[in-house]
């Protein structure tokens, strides 16, 4: 037995190593990156050119209405995959090995989120570029575009934690992926593609009060600066504030639950 002090890995070092591992793994699975970008761009084009003409937004050009909302929605889709990946690690012994290492459990999960955020960023930039190419012109100019992009990354970070929680809680790839389907009602029954006001009352009650509608309205305000153009009932600052509150609450709850479930042994 070699007598030496137990090793201990500093938090930032562990974070960097975990992030590096997942980022490299993602880059080396180009299909994942391509699918994420293609899905997002296809949604954009279908709504812009197929459904767009039939959707009334009350003043705003549909592409100006659609683009900020679609970018927010893309962020939700871009992080779904992390749930299955986390669950897979838990099933194959990778997590067991990580738990046997002298690192903080939170570093393992935060690193995972950061790497996933890389995929979200690529998806976001590609989709935003195409959106501009098909006519998206933020009313407040370039600063508006930057505002939307930053906002979208916060959305990705928040929901990244939600799906990490799904993976850690289920420890099962299929179940974690199944939970990913919650993004369908969250995104389609929201103000992202159509004004929530156009929905029947019972749906509208859900749409108006769920976070994605708020996050989308805030993104629209960041892009165009005038909430009335987005057919919204409140001022833009309201949506940003409520949106931030939603994200802080979701992120905090999901991250705390995920880390404590992950630490469970």
């Amino acid at each position: 037995m070699t007598v030496s002090a137990p090793r201990r890995t500093a938090w930032p070092v562990a974070l960097l190593a975990v992030t590096r591992r997942h980022a490299l793994a993602t880059i080396r699975t180009p299909a994942v990156v391509i699918m994420s970008v293609v899905q997002s761009v296809v949604f954009l084009l279908i709504f812009r050119y197929v459904f767009g003409g039939a959707i009334g937004t009350g003043g705003l050009d549909y592409v100006q209405f659609l683009a900020p909302g679609l970018l927010v929605v893309s962020m939700l889709f871009s992080v779904i995959g992390v749930g299955g990946a986390v669950a897979e690690d838990m099933g194959t012994g990778v997590t067991d090995r990580l738990k046997s290492l002298p690192i903080a459990p939170s570093a393992a999960l935060v690193g995972r989120v950061l790497a996933q955020l890389g995929l979200s960023a690529v998806t976001l930039l590609a989709t935003a570029a195409i959106a501009v190419a098909v006519g998206f012109r933020p009313g407040v100019g370039f600063a508006g575009l930057l505002g939307v992009l930053g906002w979208c990354l916060l959305v990705a970070l928040t929901f990244g934690w939600v799906f990490i929680l799904a993976g850690v809680a289920t420890r099962d790839v299929q179940s974690a992926q199944g939970i990913g389907f919650v993004v369908l009602p969250l995104t389609f029954v929201s103000g992202a593609f159509v004004p929530a006001g156009s929905m029947p009352d019972w749906l509208r009650g859900f749409a108006d009060n769920q976070p994605v509608t708020v996050l989308v309205a805030a993104a629209r305000w960041l892009a165009h600066g005038d909430p009335r153009l987005a057919n919204a009932s409140h001022g833009g600052g309201y949506y940003v504030l409520v949106g931030l509150t939603w994200m802080a609450a979701i992120l905090l709850a999901a991250a705390v639950a995920a880390v404590s479930l992950y630490r469970r042994r």
């Binding site: 037995m1 070699t2 007598v3 030496s4 002090a5 137990p6 090793r7 201990r8 890995t9 070092v13 562990a14 960097l16 190593a17 975990v18 590096r20 591992r21 490299l24 793994a25 080396r28 699975t29 194959t92 012994g93 990778v94 067991d96 090995r97 990580l98 738990k99 046997s100 290492l101 002298p102 690192i103 042994r265």
Partner: protein, 337 residues
């Protein structure tokens, strides 16, 4: 002499079903320890507790003097785990895996690079170092997994079924790597379902069955539990088997159909030749004489109460393990560290 692993009344249940029912161990530093047992015996559970991955329901466990519950961080800082399933990142190359896990094990950037090269060399992975692990053969992946577990030079390496599913050549390579480790002073606890593996690698074997320790000791000592050797002499006529039985010193079993007698002997060859000569003097022809040396298989099957493959002799002296005595390797550590 200090104990690298100590457990007392360690228990763990999964959904009310016991996986470990009170494990007492005092494993000293300096020799390879093998946990031997069939599927479901509790090997992985025990290794998981020792590596702080699973929390025990009761009892205590200490690794290198650190309590796995209260001082989990310290335990993690002295061990390397290679679990039952190879846990390397398939999209990273062998070298990248080793560097990433080196960093995660607490090595600095330069030290991790250096350790990665040395681990690649020790496990003979230089040629595939820059290929992604997902493309490795089963044996290469296992060796990389082992390399990862020892990249930071842990004091104790825990290997859960390191050779299960490997072809004979890969198994040999892994055995060599483990032997090399111990020469360098790293302590090793491995689990296995293969008796020959425990025999080949371990100085101390702990036999686990249904969550309890059923025997422990050096392979030689365990083998000596099964009395000596089993001798079988087959003769030419059924009635001659009865005659042969009279020449056997002590008890024996007559198999009329096979025209043979079988008995256990502590000095198989000498007794066999005595009986052989005796029968020759009476003019009885011996068709066949076999002396079966006990293997760990015999011990194992005997201990876990399985049917013996052949109707061999009753192994006298294969008594039950001596109660709560702590299994120790080549001598029980006195009074702890």
């Amino acid at each position: 002499m200090s104990a690298i692993i100590e457990t007392e009344r360690l228990v763990k249940s999964y959904r009310g079903r016991p996986a470990l029912r009170g494990i007492d161990l005092a494993l000293e530093s300096g020799i390879v320890h093998a946990l031997l047992g069939p599927n479901g015996a509790g090997k992985t559970t025990l290794v998981s507790i020792l590596s702080t991955v699973v929390r025990p329901d009761g009892g205590t466990a200490r690794v290198a003097g650190h309590d796995v519950r209260r001082e989990a961080a310290a335990v993690r800082g002295v061990i390397g785990l290679a679990g039952q399933h190879a846990a390397v990142e398939p999209k990273l190359t062998g070298r990248e895996n080793l560097r990433v896990f080196g960093r995660l094990s607490g090595l600095g950037a330069r030290a991790a690079r250096h350790a990665a090269e040395s681990a690649l060399g020790r496990l003979g992975l230089e040629a595939v170092a820059d290929r992604v692990a997902g493309g490795y053969s089963g044996g290469q992946r296992r060796r990389l997994d082992l390399a990862v577990s020892l990249v930071a030079r842990p004091a104790l390496v825990l290997l859960d079924e390191p050779t299960t599913g490997l072809d004979p050549l890969s198994r040999r390579q892994l055995w060599d790597a483990v032997a090399e480790l111990t020469r360098e002073g790293t302590d090793v606890l491995l689990t296995t379902q293969y008796l020959e593996e425990a025999d080949a690698l371990a100085g101390n074997v702990v036999v686990l069955n249904e969550g309890g320790i059923v025997a422990h000791g050096s392979p030689a000592r365990l083998k000596s539990r099964v009395a000596g050797e089993t001798v079988t002499i087959a003769v030419d006529r059924p009635e001659h088997a009865a005659v042969a039985a009279q020449s056997v010193p002590g008890d024996c079993r007559i198999d009329a159909e096979r025209m043979s007698v079988t008995w256990s002997s502590r000095s198989g060859a000498r007794e066999a030749l005595g009986v052989f000569a005796d029968l020759g003097a009476r003019g009885i022809e011996v068709r066949e004489l076999t002396i079966h040396r006990p293997t760990l298989d015999d011990v194992f099957l005997d201990l876990v109460g399985a049917e013996k493959p052949e109707g061999g002799g009753e192994p006298e002296g294969a008594e039950q393990p001596e109660g709560a005595g702590k299994p120790a390797g080549a001598g029980k550590p006195e009074g702890g560290r």
